[in-house]
Point group: C2
Chain length 364, copies 2
DNA sequence: TTGAAAGCGATACCAT
DNA sequence: ATGGTATCGCTTTCAA
C-alpha cells in the first residue's frame, strides 16, 4: 500500500550541516539574516508590507536552515489551535464503524488542505462531556464534529453552552435549523428503495435497520413505512430488526426469517456489511439472490467494499460518506473563520442504483 | 450507538456564573487565591512541596472556576507536545483500511489513558516525508506510529535522521533489531494454517494474499510456501493472487479458479473481507463452504466482522489488531519517556481457531 | 519598510 | 512551603 519515491526516501537525507534535524527557531533565523523577528515573521506569513527582496532573502534562508514555526508557540500567540477534534465515546468505538473511518478520511483531506490538524479522542462514555469541555477550556481544538446523533441528542446543547463550534454529521431532530449539519436524505432514500421493491411486486419486505435510537435509522424506518403506507400496506414488526450493522446480524436474521412460515421476499438493509450477511443466508438456504429473494442495501461507498462495476452486486441507495466528511469539514472551517454567519447545512441525496440483487417477486 | 447519561447531558449545564465557558487562566486563578502562579501550578501538578491545606484550597477554587491549563501554553513551556502522530498517505487511505481503524481505536485508548492526544494527518503520497519532517520541526507530536511497512521500507531512516521517536506496526525487513515494533507472527500463522489444510488432505490450495510489496504479505506467503515445501509440494502461481483485500477480490478470483480445469479445494485468505467474497463465490457455484471447498482466513478481530460464537463461521488465524494498537502505543510512550532505552519489540502469536469453513478434502 | 517590546499562558529555576 | 522572574517561540501593536 505504501509507495515511496526513491529520490525522496532512498537517498541520503540532506543534512549538510546537521541543521535539518536541529530545529532552528525564529530568533536564530532572524539573527542570521540581520533582521528583526518581526520582519521575518511578516515575510514568512505573507504580509504585504515586506519588500520583495527581503521576502526572498528570508524565504531562502528559512529554506536553507529548514525553519518551520513551532506550532505550540504559534498557537499560543494567535489563540487558534488550528486543530479539529473528533470525540469517539466507547459505545461507538467498541463497534468500530468503518463508516466513521471513511468519514474521517474525507474530513482529514480537507483539514490538511487548510493547514488544520485532526485530533481524535477515544474516551469512555461517561467522559464524553468532559472530553468536550476539555477541548474547549484547554483550547485543544477550534471546533469539533459531532458523530452519530441520537434520536434523543444532547451534545449540541453542551457545545453551544461552552461555545465550541461544531458541525453535525447527521441531523439532530428538533435542532435542524439551529445547527450546521451534513446529512443524506435517509427517509427519502429508503422510501425510494421500498417503492422499487413494491413496484417489483414485493409485498413482504424485511427491514434490517441500524440501531433505532440513532437518528439516521429512525428516518430510514420512516421512509420504509411511509412507502408502504402510501400503498395501503403496513409494516410487519415480525420481519423488522434493528441492531449494530454487522455481518452476522444480516445473516442470522435473514436465515431465521427465510425459514419461517411466512418469509419475506425482499430485504431492505441499512449497510453493505449486513447485506453481505443476508446474501450468505440466502445462499445457505439454497436460494438465489436477485431471483428468489431480493436485497436493497444502503451503500456508504466504503472503499474496501466496492459495489460498482457495470452492474453492481447489490441494488443500493448510495451516498459517499467520504464526501460528506470533506464537506462537513469545510463547513466547520467556514464557521470557525466567520463565527457570526448563519448556520448553513448540506442535505445530500442518495442515488438509487440498480444492481444484481433485485428482481420481480417470484411467481409474478 | 451513542448513549448518554441524562444526568450529565439532559439537565441544564452548571453555568452558575457563566464562568465555565469563560476560560479562566492561571493568573486569574492565582489572583483569586492570593497565591503566586508558581504555587498554584505546583499544587495542581502534584508537586510535593505544597502544604496540604494550600493544595486543597487551590483544587477547590480551580474546580469552582473550571480552570484547566491551556495545552498550547503548557506544551510550549514543557517542550513536549503530548501528542502522537499517525501519517496516512493517500495510497493507503484510498483503500481505507478497516484494520487501520481498529488499530487506531486501540492506540487511542492508550493515549487518552496517558493524557496524550492522537493526531492524524491525511497526506498526498509525495508529501509523506514532508509530513514527518513537519511533525518534527514544528513539534506537532512527540512520536509517530509507522503503519504498513513495505518490503522495501525507508521511513525508519528518515525518522532516525530527524530524531523522531517511532514504533512500527509490522516489521521492517532488515531493521528488526534497530527498531521497536509490534507485529504478529505472520509467517508462522500461515504455515500453521497451511499445515491444517494439508492434514485435511488438501493438496491444491489457493492463496489470496494482500499486496505483496507489503512486508506482512510477504511473510504470509513465505509461511504458506514453507509449509508446502516441507511436504515436498510446490506452490502453484496459477492459484495465487495478491491485491487489496476487498470483498470482490475474494469473490472474483475464487469464482474464476473454481470454474477452471483444475480448481483448488481450499483457499487461504489474508482477510475476512475477502474471505466473505470467497464464500460468496463458492455459494454461487452451488458448492458448500467447509464441505466441498475449505477456507481459512486471517481474522484481525474487527469489531464489525465478528467471527466468534461456539463455532466461528470461518476457520481462522486470529490476532487482535486493536490489542496491537494498544501495545504499540504503550511502547511508543515508553520510548518517549526514556529515549535511551534499548528497542524492545512485541511479537504476537496468532491463534489457529477451527470454525465451520474447513473440512476434509472431498472424496477422501 | 523595518524594529522594539509587549503579550500569549503555562513551567521551572533560584531565592527566601 | 512560597514567591519572583526568566523562558518557551511566536504574533502583533505601536513607533519610527
Amino acid at each position: 500500500m505504501l509507495h515511496f519515491n526513491n529520490s525522496l526516501f532512498g537517498g541520503r537525507f540532506q543534512s549538510v550541516l546537521g541543521i535539518m534535524s536541529k530545529g532552528v527557531n525564529l530568533r536564530e533565523l532572524s539573527n542570521r539574516l540581520n533582521l528583526s523577528q518581526t520582519t521575518v515573521s511578516r515575510a514568512l506569513n505573507g504580509y504585504p508590507e515586506v519588500s520583495a527582496e527581503t521576502r526572498k532573502r528570508v524565504a531562502e534562508m528559512a529554506d536553507e536552515l529548514g525553519y518551520a514555526p513551532n506550532s505550540q508557540a504559534r498557537r499560543l500567540a494567535t489563540g487558534r489551535s488550528m486543530a479539529i477534534g473528533h470525540v469517539i465515546p466507547r459505545s461507538i468505538h467498541e463497534m468500530m464503524n468503518p463508516i466513521f473511518l471513511e468519514f474521517i478520511a474525507g474530513a482529514g483531506e480537507t483539514y490538511s488542505k487548510h493547514g488544520y490538524d485532526m485530533i481524535i479522542s477515544v474516551v469512555e462514555d461517561d467522559h464524553e462531556e468532559d472530553a468536550y469541555r476539555q477541548i474547549a477550556t484547554r483550547k485543544k481544538a477550534d471546533g469539533v464534529i459531532v458523530h452519530g446523533p441520537a434520536a434523543d441528542e444532547h451534545r449540541h446543547r453542551l457545545l453551544k453552552e461552552i461555545n465550541l463550534p461544531f458541525v453535525v454529521h447527521g441531523r439532530i431532530p428538533g435542532a435542524e435549523s439551529e445547527t450546521t449539519w451534513v446529512d443524506m436524505n435517509n427517509r427519502r432514500a429508503f422510501e425510494r428503495a421500498t417503492n422499487l421493491l413494491l413496484d417489483l411486486g414485493h409485498q413482504r419486505i424485511s427491514l434490517l435497520n441500524g440501531l433505532e435510537h440513532m437518528d439516521f435509522a429512525r428516518r430510514r424506518r420512516k421512509g420504509f413505512e411511509d412507502a408502504l403506507a402510501a400503498r395501503g400496506l403496513a409494516a410487519d414488526n415480525a420481519i423488522m430488526r434493528s441492531s449494530d450493522m454487522t455481518e452476522p446480524f444480516g445473516c442470522d436474521n435473514a436465515m431465521e426469517m427465510l425459514k419461517s412460515d411466512n418469509p419475506p421476499t425482499a430485504f431492505l438493509v441499512s449497510s453493505m456489511i449486513s447485506a453481505i450477511g443476508v446474501a450468505r443466508a440466502i445462499g445457505q438456504c439454497g436460494l438465489e439472490t436477485g431471483k428468489d429473494v431480493s436485497i436493497i442495501t444502503h451503500d456508504d461507498a466504503l472503499s474496501f467494499l466496492p459495489n460498482s462495476g457495470e452492474v453492481p452486486i447489490f441494488t443500493c441507495t448510495r451516498s459517499s460518506v467520504r464526501y460528506a466528511g470533506q464537506r462537513a469539514a469545510e463547513l466547520l472551517l467556514d464557521i470557525i473563520a466567520s463565527p457570526q454567519r448563519e448556520p448553513s447545512s448540506l442535505h445530500l441525496d442518495a442515488e438509487l442504483i440498480i444492481g444484481q440483487s433485485t428482481g420481480p417477486v417470484p411467481g409474478r
